[in-house]
C-alpha cells in the first residue's frame, strides 16, 4: 500500500481530508465566487437562511451576505492558523535545537525562558499582546505564535538531545563543520518529524484562539472573521440564532478536520517509520 492509500484508508482521516479540502477550496475561490467586498450590504437586514436563493444563508444585522462572509472568513481563519503554526514551529524548532545542541548555560537560559512562557496561559498572553499593540492580522498571528512555540521547542530539544550523540554528528564534528551548521543541517532535519506532528494541534488551537480574540473584539475589524461573526450574532442570539450558529458550525468542522487529517498524517508517518 502506498502512503497516500494508507493515509486515505482510515475513514476518519478521509473525513478530515475532505473537510480540509473543502475549506481550502472555500478560501481559494472566495474572491471568485464572491467578488468585491464581502462586507458590502447586499440585501435587507436579518434575512433568515434559505428564504432567498441569491442569499442562501441569509443576511446579518446590516444586510451583509452571510455566505460570502463565511467564505472570506475561511480565508482569515486558515491564513491565521497556518501562519501562526508555521511561526510557532519555526521559533520552537530553532530554540529547541539551539538549547539541545549547545547544552550548558545556553540550554538553561533558553529552557527557563520557555518555562516562563509556558507558565502564562497562552490565551491571556495573546489577549495582552493584542490589546497593547492594537488589533491587525499580523499582530494576531504574532500573538498566537507567542503562546504556541513552547511545545515545539520542548519536543525539538528532547529529540536533539538523543540525536547529537549519534555517530554521524560526531563524524561531522571530526571533519570540522561549524557547530551551527551541524545543528541546523544535520540535527534539525532529523529532529523535525515529531515536532511537525504537533502542527495539527497548533493549527487547530490557533484557529480557535483567533476566533476567540475576534469574538472579544480584538480581531482585525476590517476583515471578516468567524469569531467576529459569532460576536456580532450574539446580540441577536434569541431572534436570529443562525448568525452565530452558521460560523460556529464552520469553526467546529474546521478544527475537527484539521485535527483528523493531522492525526492521519502522524499515523501514516509512524507506520512508515516502523516499516523502514
Amino acid at each position: 500500500m502506498s502512503p497516500l492509500n494508507r493515509f486515505l484508508h482510515r475513514p476518519e482521516t478521509l473525513a478530515g481530508a475532505i473537510i480540509l479540502g473543502v475549506l481550502f477550496a472555500m478560501a481559494l475561490f472566495a474572491s471568485l465566487l464572491f467578488p468585491g467586498d464581502p462586507q458590502a450590504i447586499a440585501g435587507p437586514a436579518l434575512l433568515p437562511p434559505f428564504h432567498d436563493w441569491s442569499l442562501p444563508l441569509g443576511t446579518d444585522r446590516l444586510g451583509r451576505d452571510v455566505l460570502a462572509e463565511l467564505f472570506h472568513g475561511a480565508r482569515t481563519s486558515l491564513a491565521v492558523g497556518l501562519a501562526a503554526a508555521a511561526a510557532a514551529l519555526l521559533i520552537g524548532a530553532v530554540v529547541g535545537t539551539l538549547a539541545g545542541f549547545a547544552g550548558g548555560v545556553v540550554d538553561e537560559v533558553l529552557m527557563r525562558i520557555t518555562d516562563a512562557f509556558q507558565t502564562v496561559p497562552s490565551f491571556l498572553l495573546a489577549l495582552a499582546f493584542v490589546s497593547v499593540v492594537g488589533p491587525s492580522l499580523g499582530v494576531v498571528v504574532a500573538a498566537i505564535a507567542l503562546g504556541a512555540w513552547t511545545g515545539p521547542a520542548r519536543v525539538a530539544r528532547a529529540e536533539v538531545l538523543s540525536i547529537r550523540e549519534r555517530d554521524y554528528v560526531a563524524g561531522a564534528r571530526v571533519i570540522g563543520m561549524h557547530p551551527l551548521e551541524i545543528a541546523f543541517r544535520e540535527v534539525l532535519p532529523n529532529a523535525l518529524p515529531p515536532v511537525l506532528a504537533l502542527s495539527s494541534v497548533i493549527v487547530a488551537a490557533a484557529i480557535l484562539t483567533e476566533a476567540a480574540l475576534s469574538f472579544l473584539g480584538l480581531g482585525d475589524p476590517n476583515r471578516v472573521t468567524w469569531g467576529g461573526m459569532i460576536a456580532e450574532g450574539r446580540t441577536v442570539l434569541r431572534t436570529a440564532p443562525f448568525l452565530s450558529i452558521v460560523p460556529g458550525i464552520a469553526l467546529v468542522l474546521t478544527v475537527l478536520g484539521v485535527y483528523l487529517a493531522g492525526e492521519g498524517v502522524v499515523e501514516t508517518a509512524a507506520v512508515r517509520r516502523s516499516l523502514s
Binding site: 462586507q39 458590502a40 444586510g63 490589546s131 473584539g217 475589524p221 476590517n222 446580540t235 442570539l237 436570529a240
Partner: protein, 534 residues
C-alpha cells in the same frame, strides 16, 4: 386630604376586586407601599457624586439619593417641576437668579438642609469641578443667602436665565456642606457613598454584584417614597438582562439594557412591557466627528459628499430598528424650544456625492478609490459600532477607503480627544435641553486638547464662534432662541460634524412596576413615586 381619601378608597376597592379573583390590573392604579425593586445596571461608576460627575451613568443610581433644585417635567412651566427649590426667578439684567428653597428638608444624617448647602454646592462644586457646570456656571461670582431658604445666584456677566433654567435638572445636584467642607472635595468618602436629601439612602455597594438603596423615612414628599429598597443588579452582559427579566430575577431594565433586536420578541412575553417614553430629556445624537486637519476633510465639498453618502433612513431602520429619528442638525427634532427644520439637508444621493468629490479634485484612481481614512467608532454602544461598520460600507461606495480602528473606551477618548489620531470618528454626544450646555462645544474653536466630547477636530469658523459668543450673552429668550436657530443653519451648511440620527433609550419592565416614565428624565429622576403592585 381628598387625595388621600380617594387613594384609600381605590385601594379598598382593589382589595375587593382581588378578593373576588378579578384580574390583578386593578392594583396598577393605586400606588402601593413597600417592596423591593430589582433592576439591571450595566456599568459600575465609582464616583457616585452627581454634583461632580454629571453623567447619566451616575445619575441612574445617585439621582435617587442626591436631589437637584428642579426636575424636568412633561407639563410643568418651562418644562420643570420643583424639587429642592420651590421657585426660581431671573433678574431682567441677567446678573442674578433667586431661588426659594423648600422648608423642612433633612439630609440623610439628620441635619437640616439650608441655603448654605446650595451656595456651597454651586460655588465649590458645580462651578470648579463639574464637567458641565464649568461651562454653564463659569460667570457665577457669588451666592447670597439672605435667609435659610433663599439663595441668590450673582453672575459677573449677564447670563441667560433660559440657560440656567434648562440646566437645573442635570447640573444642580445639591450636596451637604457639613460633609464636604472638610478636606478635599474630590477625595471625600461621600463621593462613593453619597449623602443627600433624596427619597432613598445609600445602602451598600458590592463590586461586581449590586448597589443597594434603602427607603428614607424622613423624606419631604408626603407618603413617599413607596418602595422600601432599590437593588441595582450588575449585569454587564447585555444579553443577560432580557433573560433575567423573563426569569423574574429583575423587574426593570432601563437604558436599553435589553438589546433593540430583542424588543420585538420580549414585547410578546406576558407580564413584560416595553416603554419608549421617559427619556425625552436625554437625547443622544449619532454624529460623525471629522478631523479638519486632514486636507481632504477640510474641504466642505468632501464633507457634503460624505453627508450625501449616508442613508439616514437605512441607519434608523437597520441599526436602530426604528427606535430613533433621522437628524437634520445639531439640535434634535424632539427639542421643544430650539429645533428648526429650516436648515440645508443632505438627502441620500450617491451620484451627487461622487460628483461633489470629483469637483473637489479627488478623482477615483484605477482601483475605484479616491483616498483612505481612519475611522474610529466609539465603543460605548452597540449602535455606534454598528454604524461604524455601515459608514465604512457607505464610504466604500463613493470611493473613500475607510479603515476601522477599534479601541476600548479610555483608548478611544485618548485617541480622538487628546491625540487627534483619527480622520473620522463616530460619537454619541448628548443634547441636554439647551445648546449652550453640551452642544456648542462640539463645534466651537479654542477648546484645549483633551476635553472629551468637544471640538477636537481642529475646526475653526469665526462666524460660528461669533454666533455662539453672542448667544451666550443674549438675555432675551426669543432672541437667544433665534440665534440658536441660526447656529443650526450654519452648522448644517458648513458641516463641522455630520448629525446622522437621534435616539433615546427603551425600558422593559414587569407589569407590576408603576409610575414608570412619568417625566422626560425618568430613568435618572428620583423615583419617589415609583411603586410595585401586587
Amino acid at each position: 386630604m381628598s387625595d388621600i381619601s380617594r387613594r384609600t378608597l381605590l385601594s379598598g376597592s382593589a382589595l375587593l376586586l382581588a378578593s373576588t379573583a378579578m384580574p390583578a390590573f386593578g392594583w396598577a392604579q393605586t400606588p402601593k407601599k413597600g417592596g423591593r425593586l430589582v433592576l439591571a445596571a450595566d456599568s459600575e461608576p465609582r464616583n457616585l457624586n452627581p454634583a461632580i460627575v454629571a453623567s447619566n451613568g451616575v445619575f441612574f443610581i445617585s439621582s435617587k439619593i442626591v436631589e437637584t433644585l428642579a426636575e424636568a417635567s412633561f407639563d410643568g412651566k418651562d418644562g420643570l417641576e420643583p424639587r429642592l427649590a420651590l421657585s426660581w426667578e431671573g433678574a431682567a439684567d441677567g446678573l442674578s437668579v433667586t431661588f426659594k428653597l423648600r422648608d423642612g428638608v433633612k439630609w440623610h444624617d439628620g441635619k437640616p438642609f439650608t441655603s448654605a448647602d446650595v451656595a456651597f454646592s454651586a460655588l465649590q462644586v458645580w462651578k470648579p469641578l463639574q464637567n458641565l457646570g464649568r461651562i454653564v456656571f463659569k460667570d457665577l461670582a457669588a451666592v447670597d443667602t439672605p435667609d435659610d431658604f433663599t439663595a441668590v445666584f450673582k453672575f459677573a456677566k449677564p447670563t441667560p436665565f433660559q440657560l440656567i433654567r434648562n440646566a437645573l435638572p442635570a447640573l444642580s445636584s445639591v450636596v451637604p456642606k457639613h460633609i464636604y467642607e472638610v478636606g478635599k472635595i474630590e477625595d471625600n468618602p461621600a463621593n462613593n457613598a453619597p449623602i443627600g436629601t433624596g427619597p432613598f439612602k445609600f445602602g451598600e455597594y458590592k463590586a461586581g454584584q449590586y448597589y443597594k438603596l434603602t427607603r428614607n423615612a424622613d423624606y419631604w414628599g408626603k407618603d413617599e417614597p413607596y418602595l422600601d429598597e432599590i437593588i441595582y443588579q450588575v449585569l454587564p452582559d447585555r444579553t443577560s438582562a432580557a433573560a433575567a427579566l423573563e426569569a423574574e430575577e429583575i423587574q426593570l431594565a432601563a437604558f436599553s439594557a435589553v438589546p433593540l433586536a430583542d424588543l420585538d420578541r420580549i414585547s410578546k412575553v406576558p407580564g413584560l412591557k416595553v416603554i419608549s417614553k421617559g427619556y425625552e430629556g436625554l437625547t443622544y445624537q449619532l454624529v460623525v466627528e471629522i478631523n479638519h486637519r486632514r486636507k481632504e476633510l477640510a474641504d466642505v465639498k468632501v464633507r457634503q459628499a460624505i453627508a450625501h453618502a449616508i442613508d439616514k433612513d437605512f441607519v434608523v431602520k437597520t441599526v436602530f430598528l426604528g427606535y430613533a429619528a433621522t437628524a437634520t442638525g445639531p439640535v434634535p427634532k424632539n427639542d421643544p424650544q430650539f429645533y428648526t427644520a429650516d436648515v440645508p439637508t443632505y438627502p441620500f444621493d450617491v451620484a451627487k456625492a461622487n460628483a461633489l468629490l470629483d469637483e473637489a479634485g479627488y478623482a477615483k484612481a484605477d482601483d475605484g478609490k479616491r483616498f483612505a481614512v481612519k475611522l474610529l467608532p466609539a465603543p460605548y454602544f452597540n449602535e455606534t459600532k454598528q454604524f461604524g461598520d455601515y459608514l465604512r460600507q457607505a464610504l466604500a461606495v463613493i470611493g473613500i477607503d475607510a479603515e476601522i480602528v477599534n479601541n476600548d473606551a479610555p483608548a478611544h477618548i485618548k485617541a480622538v480627544y487628546t491625540d487627534h489620531a483619527f480622520d473620522l470618528a463616530v460619537g454619541p454626544p448628548v443634547f441636554r435641553g439647551d445648546p449652550a450646555i453640551s452642544t456648542t462645544i462640539l463645534v466651537q474653536s479654542g477648546i484645549p486638547d483633551g476635553v472629551p466630547f468637544s471640538n477636537q477636530g481642529g475646526y475653526k469658523n469665526d462666524a460660528l464662534d461669533a454666533l455662539i459668543a453672542k448667544a451666550s450673552e443674549t438675555l432675551d429668550t426669543a432672541a437667544r432662541t433665534d440665534l440658536y436657530k441660526e447656529f443650526q443653519k450654519e452648522v448644517a451648511a458648513d458641516l463641522p460634524l455630520i448629525n446622522v440620527a437621534e435616539w433615546s433609550f427603551i425600558s422593559v419592565a414587569r407589569d407590576t412596576v408603576g409610575n414608570i416614565a412619568n417625566n422626560p428624565r425618568w430613568a435618572v429622576s428620583n423615583w419617589a413615586d415609583t411603586y410595585l403592585a401586587g
